[in-house]
Amino acid sequence: MALAAALVAASFVGSPRPAATGPVAVALQSASSTDKAKIRSIYGALADIMARDTGRLITTTAVWRSIYSDALRLAAGGTSLVGRYPDLDDAVEKVLSEHYTLDNLPIDQALADKIVAGMKTVERQCE
């Protein structure tokens, strides 16, 4: 029993985390762990915001776009992050496009879930 437990534990402790893949991961290939952590935290927080709201205050994708852009301006604007990874904008847009469309639509639970999934994917690709 003890041996089995030790083997299971070892299987987790010993295995390296798989490298992140996807457009954002590629764009951040040369990024420091500090920069990745900064970007990861921004998208993690955005996912949390949408997950808690689900369309109550953030009523449409146009409103969400505005909030998202403002959050990026406040979180990244004026920092050394801006301009350091030239393909990052397009990479993030590509990831988001895989989860929801550019249609300006009312946000319901289903659409909120898709937006959360998009933000979390960006977050994961920053690991």
Partner: protein, 315 residues
């Protein structure tokens, strides 16, 4: 009526008795009796506008710089007044209430005026309300049966006797004004406007093109049978020791900027009348003051991007 192509000619025509606004008590009664809430008297927001300021025209201007620049060329002022009120309320719904709608284009006047029910001059605001509530409205764009890209007063004039063509009415049905309420007091109108409902009113009254000793537009002798959009008010007493109202005329640049226009009001839209509550009261007491709300606008369209572009790469 083709000679009414300058602000001065419009002023002269109305001074000489041109009928733009028609008081039609029967049409008004019919409209009010078909409404769930005929009068604007919202208990939940009662008193909310008192002591406040609402410069509502700025919302429409923010979305479309062409708003309030169109000058009527015939006696279709009611359709201009109602269109301007409609556009302002629609802009508030988009910018303030964050409703999932697109501005698309400013509104058109022609279908409303074409629904006046006769081939002569002028229109009852109640008839305009009935059409815009029950049939709807169109935008300044090209439709298959009619090109409304540019204002053409002769279109609405022509439709008057026979009515708006059925094909045009069908197009109008996509966009309607959900709530149109009659206003009985300045207090109720302040409540409406502070909560984002613009208005228009028909009355027999005239204003001077220049400023009076208070630095605003005062009433002139005589009267115009005219309808105009009520685009804002200021009851804060911050700039004037009395309440002032902003009325947007539809004659183009027919008057002068008030000498005491506060810079805090933003850019003065040419043609706007700034007047005192005393001089304004006729716009409500006439019985033909109407607020517009719950406008069924244009369906949402596509966003330019998700919101990332330019924020991580270029700052």
């Amino acid at each position: 009526m083709s000679d009414m192509d300058t602000p001065l000619s419009l002023l002269n025509a109305y001074n000489d008795g041109l009928t733009g606004y028609i008081f039609d008590p029967r049409a008004k009664d019919e409209f009010l009796s078909s409404q769930s809430y005929p009068y604007f008297n919202e208990v939940n927001i009662k008193g909310s506008g008192k002591g406040k300021r609402a410069l509502l025209w700025q919302y429409a201007k923010k979305l479309d710089s062409r708003c309030f620049t169109e000058a009527q060329t015939t006696s279709d002022c009611v359709s201009h007044g109602s269109r301007n009120a409609r556009d302002i309320s629609r802009a508030v719904e988009i910018l303030v209430n964050k409703e999932p709608e697109d501005w698309f284009q400013m509104g058109a006047t022609e279908p409303t005026y074409g629904a006046r029910g006769h081939g002569g001059d002028g229109m009852s605001p109640a008839r305009a309300s009935t059409f815009e509530r029950d049939v709807g409205f169109l935008a300044r764009t090209k439709y298959e049966p009619v090109d409304l890209t540019k204002y053409n007063g002769s279109i609405g004039t022509r439709w008057g006797s026979g009515g708006v063509p059925q094909a045009v009415q069908e197009l109008c049905k996509k966009n309607k004004v959900g709530i149109i309420s009659n206003v009985k007091s300045q207090e109720d109108l302040m409540d409406a406007m502070f909560n984002g409902y613009a208005a228009h009113s028909g009355q027999y009254a005239a204003w001077t093109p220049g400023s009076n000793d208070k630095g605003i537009h005062g009433r002139a002798s005589g009267g115009w049978g005219h309808d105009m959009c009520i685009a804002g008010y200021d009851d804060s007493r911050e700039f004037f020791p009395f309440r002032v109202w902003m009325i947007q005329n539809s004659w183009g640049p027919w008057n002068k900027k008030p000498t005491k226009w506060p810079k805090e009001y933003g850019e003065w839209p040419p043609g706007m009348i700034l007047t005192s509550a005393d001089d304004f009261d006729v716009c409500v007491s006439s019985g033909d003051c109407w607020t517009y709300g719950s406008i069924q606008g244009y369906p949402p369209q596509r966003l330019p991007d998700y919101g990332t572009i330019g924020l991580l790469n270029h700052g």
